[in-house]
Symmetry: C2
DNA sequence: AGTCAACTTGACCCAGCGGTCATCTTACGA
DNA sequence: TCGTAAGATGACCGCTGGGTCAAGTTGACT
């Protein structure tokens, strides 16, 4: 559970800082279990604080989601940057996707990202995330580990696919997503790749 | 827009039958645009009927969703069965996936399926759908068009992935999903396939 | 210890949702 | 053309969920 910083803000009082962490953790759990339907009241209960405290920290539900998504992006950006030093660029990309998918839970977190779209800080973190994936993909492509017509944006869009796929099953084995990650990753391999029917999208 | 039948029920009066069609079409549009948040009132307005009429046809929101999902499964089952005669089993599977993905809209319809899980008629249709995909995949595998370790269930779980992937983009080109379908389909090709880390799931 | 701003609390508000039903309208067989 | 059962209507209900706020509590600094 990464400690969350609030850039350029006066430091919080000790109890407030603790509650903020509890809230973010409880919210992440609740969203993972119940999807977007998780209520602010349930999150408060899970964190062991009153409902009003949630809104003292996050003015709206959107703001709370933005904080979670921002943390998520920041953490994955750090992972991607660390893997840039790896000796095997193909394995590094696969490792990154494994960490990214493994960090999601029962519900995939894609929907949270779309809710947080308006937040400028999240946009900033998302752009850094995008760039760090791009670097990872470029290295893998240069090494011939993935097909030439794949971009970082493609990989970004496919991150949630493995977890999303197993969402249809009522009680999936917890790491069944690895199977679908492997299939999708095999879709990126260069051997005998078929040309793609549409050009890569630009972002945003 | 496939005409919807209601098996073993007394035929509807002309106006009621028409309204039922209007409602199903309006609901499909509304769910496609707004996801699960589409409200019964909005669906009624879009169909040009009063709110009470919606509940006269579908006792609950779940029942309405089940009707939509059931239609969807039935239509795709018919497509899959037609393609079983195709001369090229690999192309037939790709064609099926293209039709299945193309039939979805802005929001992927995966979430509707999970809501409709309790309905026994939908379960029946889903099982037929599953079986028809299985037959398509078996033929493709026998022909060497897809890797040996892929099952019909795998393909079923991956149907929504291409549309889901482009959901991150604010204004995706309408058929960008074809790019991600091509990548995922390439993940199924036999040439140089890497062994999959987890066994195929059973269903359900 | 005393002070006070920072923080927490939970009762409260209200909009919007799914769902109901008494009443009105209409398709259709005779 | 008419009688009537099937269907349409929209005001209404209870509830849930996001969000507010005046009053109470507490961490931190002197």
């Amino acid at each position: 559970m990464p400690s969350v910083t609030r850039p350029d803000r006066r430091p919080l009082r000790a109890d407030a800082a603790r509650n903020r962490e509890l809230l973010l953790a409880a919210a992440a759990d609740e969203f993972a279990e119940r999807g977007i339907d998780a209520s602010m009241a349930d999150i408060a209960r899970r964190a062991g604080v009153a409902k009003g405290t949630v809104f003292a920290h996050f003015a709206t539900k959107e703001e709370l989601i933005a904080a979670i998504v921002g943390d998520h992006f920041a953490a994955l950006t750090a992972v991607a940057r660390n893997l840039l030093d790896s000796a095997d660029p193909g394995a590094a990309l696969l490792e990154f996707l494994t960490v990214a998918a493994g960090g999601q839970r029962q519900h995939d977190l894609a929907f949270l990202q779309t809710v947080a779209e308006g937040d400028s800080e999240v946009t900033e973190l998302r752009n850094e995330f995008h760039a760090s994936i791009g670097a990872l993909v470029d290295r893998a492509r240069d090494a011939g580990a993935v097909r030439a017509d794949i971009t970082g944006t493609d990989v970004l869009l496919l991150i949630c696919a493995p977890v999303h796929a197993i969402g249809f099953l009522a009680n999936p084995e917890p790491d069944l997503w690895r199977r679908y990650l492997a299939i999708i990753f095999d879709g990126l391999r260069p051997e005998g790749a078929n040309p793609l029917p549409r050009p890569a999208p630009s972002w945003p």
